[in-house]
């Protein structure tokens, strides 16, 4: 369910409440049903959802509807604020041991991304001037030690191994090793395990006791569903976690597990994994996560990603053009091929709030159509490309014939161009307002 769907539903509910006024209990109750479904759809645990809904309802009832917002938008704002608040308002940092060696221990279910994250953390730490040591304490999974060794080699970070010996001994010996080799941070990669596996959970407690870590980080797959709370609760109970790391957020999961695990452990989410490569570790931003869970689209990330992927010079040209409103069909064509590098067009557009599903329909564009688009634009005269508004009926006919497409195709393209122009303008406007630091919700309108 996209954000638009949620806002649209809320707006429908609040249609009655046309003028400004207070949110009544009945309004809010109805709205909360939609919010609840949206959160469940995003994999937030149902118990967490219940609590949230209760809190949000209490806050919402009786609130004045703000001048600039519709009641539906107002509710979303309250929900969004509450999610952000719950997920922690500031970016968390790693704890270092005041004197001596800092021990970081990574724990979690099988396949959640511990070993990869160990490498990523190592890279981050060595970039910040630390001398990390990776410790291979997974003695169970086939080739787990080798995997960490390969990662260490790629990063030029030492890896401590002791074969299949008791992980508690490995952990203790690694501290000694670090002492002798001047490593100031130890990152222990433990084996994946189920939270209900008594024996292996006990092993973690014993490692903890033996080396007294400054950080015990639970590595959680962001695609996890309702079970995330059970896992996080049990690991936290056993080990008193100090933080969480969410992995595989580079996909399209809504990531409600973030909210669930934060809610049951109270631990800060310190980093997020954004890819398989060892540089793909990023700080956690609660605002982004909240919009993502609500299906509002990860607009900020999108903008950043876009600015990384887009040719910088072209982007600057584009920006200039946008400012002067001279974004023409040549630019549109350029834009489409740039956008293709980030992902499929409808996927990107669906990430951008402010586009209702209906609007999106007209915008669906696949790679094949892109060839058509190119043909159509190439059949236009230079003036037409510069100034599409002059393209009247007879010109459309000519362009269709010239490009071997139909008039409908030409019409659709012009409509897409117009919408893209608006979208880009919206994005740059938002960037501007973000830079000014003004608190605004540009996407709550359509």
């Amino acid at each position: 369910m996209a954000f638009e769907a949620l806002t649209q539903k809320l707006n429908d509910i609040f249609k009655m409440l046309k003028g400004k006024g207070k949110l009544t209990e009945a309004d809010v109750k109805q709205a909360m049903r939609e919010v609840k479904l949206a959160l469940l759809e995003a994999d937030v645990n149902f118990k967490v959802v219940k609590e949230l809904i209760q809190r949000i309802s209490e806050r919402a009832v009786g609130q004045e509807v703000m001048e600039s917002l519709t009641p539906g938008q107002q509710v979303i704002k309250i929900v969004n604020d509450e999610l952000v608040r719950l997920m922690g308002s500031k970016e968390a940092k790693l704890n270092f041991s005041p004197g001596g060696i800092t021990v970081i221990m990574l724990v979690g279910l099988q396949g959640s991304g511990k070993t990869t994250t160990a490498g990523k953390l190592g890279k981050l730490l060595s970039k910040s001037g630390k001398k990390p040591l990776l410790v291979a304490a997974d003695i169970y999974r086939p080739a787990a030690i080798k995997q960490l060794q390969v990662i260490g080699e790629k990063l030029d970070i030492p890896v401590f191994t002791m074969g299949q010996q008791d992980p508690v001994n490995i952990a203790m010996a690694s501290v000694e090793y670090a002492n002798r080799h001047n490593n100031d941070v130890i990152i222990i990669d433990t084996a994946g395990r189920l939270h209900i596996d008594e024996e292996l959970m006990d092993e973690l407690s014993r490692i903890k006791q033996a080396v007294n870590p400054s950080e015990i980080l639970l590595v959680v797959d962001s695609m996890t569903g309702q079970d995330a709370v059970n896992v996080a609760e049990e690991f936290n109970k056993r080990l008193a976690l100090t933080g969480l790391i969410l992995t595989k957020l580079d996909g399209d999961t809504r990531g409600g597990a973030a909210l669930s695990v934060k809610a049951v452990t109270g631990c800060p989410i310190k980093f997020v994994g954004m890819g398989e490569k060892l540089e793909n570790l990023e700080p956690f931003y609660p605002e982004r996560m909240a919009s993502r869970i609500l299906g509002m689209g990860d607009v900020l990330t999108l903008i950043e990603k876009a600015s990384q992927t887009f040719d910088l010079k072209k982007a600057q040209e584009l920006e200039q053009k946008l400012k002067t409103q001279s974004f023409d069909l040549n630019d549109f064509l350029e834009q489409l091929s740039q956008v293709k590098k980030i992902g499929s067009l409808d996927q990107i557009l669906s990430m951008i709030p402010g586009f209702s599903q209906q609007k999106l329909k007209g915008l669906e564009l696949n790679e094949k159509e892109l060839v058509h688009v190119e043909a159509i634009i190439n059949s236009m005269t230079p003036e037409e490309r510069k100034n599409p508004s002059i393209i009247n009926g007879s010109r459309r006919k000519r362009i269709a014939a010239g490009s071997g497409t139909s008039i409908q195709d030409v019409n659709r393209l012009l409509k897409q161009y117009e919408q893209t122009r608006k979208m880009i303008k919206q994005m740059t406007d938002m960037e501007k307002s973000r830079k000014r630091g003004k608190q605004r919700f540009p996407f709550f309108g359509f």
Partner: protein, 298 residues
């Protein structure tokens, strides 16, 4: 120990035992009422069945309460179970060697492990099996598969890290032909379904099989981690589109997650579950049985 016992054992370790909860519930509420229905709804949601399918199931359940003679909560539960079982397509896996199994899925779900277990099963059934180390990306992926090969005594065709997976598959197919192998199981690197280029690479692997071994039966297995939430639907949809998934391996059912999203996948995409993973050992792969699966949820 059977899957159900194992699951029960796993379940008994958790505090919030759904089966118990439902059973307790049923003890006290003899008559069907709205509260019972809501509780059942909650059980489905907490098993990751998803709101859409849950609502559909509840709607038809409510309908049945009205029209048929469902009186007790016990009847209600049975009706719901039947309803869910009916969603799973009956397509069984039927091997017609020579076969190529392309094993795909997102990162860390248990592809390589499941391949190791499958090779063992097939070998014990008397088939001649080889494995292809088609994950040339992840650190030590081929080494991992080789260890599984040693465990079951099955050969692994591998290249160096970073080489083209299509050429690994090509070699495996040639080896399979010349050694008269019955089943070639191909491991692939974990990939998120949203990565266009990686999905394209997968399509290419599929085409290589079709082209190089047209006589072989080509099956794509998608491995799905039972702890996955609603994103699994998108995964299944896109992997199906790319390599025409034939069946699903649902892993990590030995934990407390129920894998209910497989129900939504069955409902929407008509994909059967063929195997379930219930542990990290070589024998921890079992044939899927919808009765046992549904019993573990409700």
């Amino acid at each position: 120990m059977g899957f159900f016992d194992k699951l029960k054992q796993g379940l008994s370790k958790t505090r919030n035992n759904f089966t118990d909860r439902i059973e307790n519930l049923l003890k006290f509420t003899k008559r069907v009422d709205e509260e019972t229905l809501e509780e059942l709804e909650e059980v489905l949601i907490s098993a990751d069945v998803g709101i859409n399918v849950t609502q559909k199931l509840m709607d038809s359940l409510r309908e049945r309460v009205k029209t048929s003679r469902i009186r007790s909560s016990e009847d209600l539960k049975t009706a719901l179970k039947d309803e869910i079982k009916g969603l799973f397509p009956q397509k069984k896996m039927s091997l017609q060697p020579p076969s190529v199994l392309l094993v795909v899925g997102v990162n860390g779900v248990g592809k390589t492990t499941s391949i190791g277990k499958l090779a063992h099963i097939f070998k014990n059934q008397g088939y001649k099996v080889i494995m292809a180390a088609g994950d040339t990306f992840r650190a030590a992926a081929a080494e991992q598969l080789e260890i599984w090969g040693q465990r079951s005594g099955v050969d692994v065709i591998r290249h160096q890290e970073g080489s083209d997976p299509a050429s690994v598959l090509f070699d495996a197919i040639q080896a399979g032909k010349s050694r008269r192998t019955d089943i070639i199981i191909c491991d692939t690197a974990g990939r998120l379904h949203t990565k266009k280029n990686l999905m394209e690479e997968l399509r290419k692997l599929y085409r290589v099989c079709q082209k190089e071994y047209p006589d072989a039966q080509l099956l794509s297995l998608m491995v799905l981690d039972a702890t996955t939430g609603q994103n699994a639907l998108a995964q299944a949809r896109i992997f199906k589109d790319a390599v025409d998934i034939s069946g699903i391996v649902l892993t990590k059912l030995d934990g407390t997650a129920k894998g209910g999203i497989a129900i939504a996948i069955a409902q929407e995409l008509n994909l059967p579950v063929w195997f379930i993973g219930v542990g990290e050992g070589i024998d921890d792969l079992q044939e899927f049985n919808s009765d046992e699966f549904v019993d573990a949820i409700l």
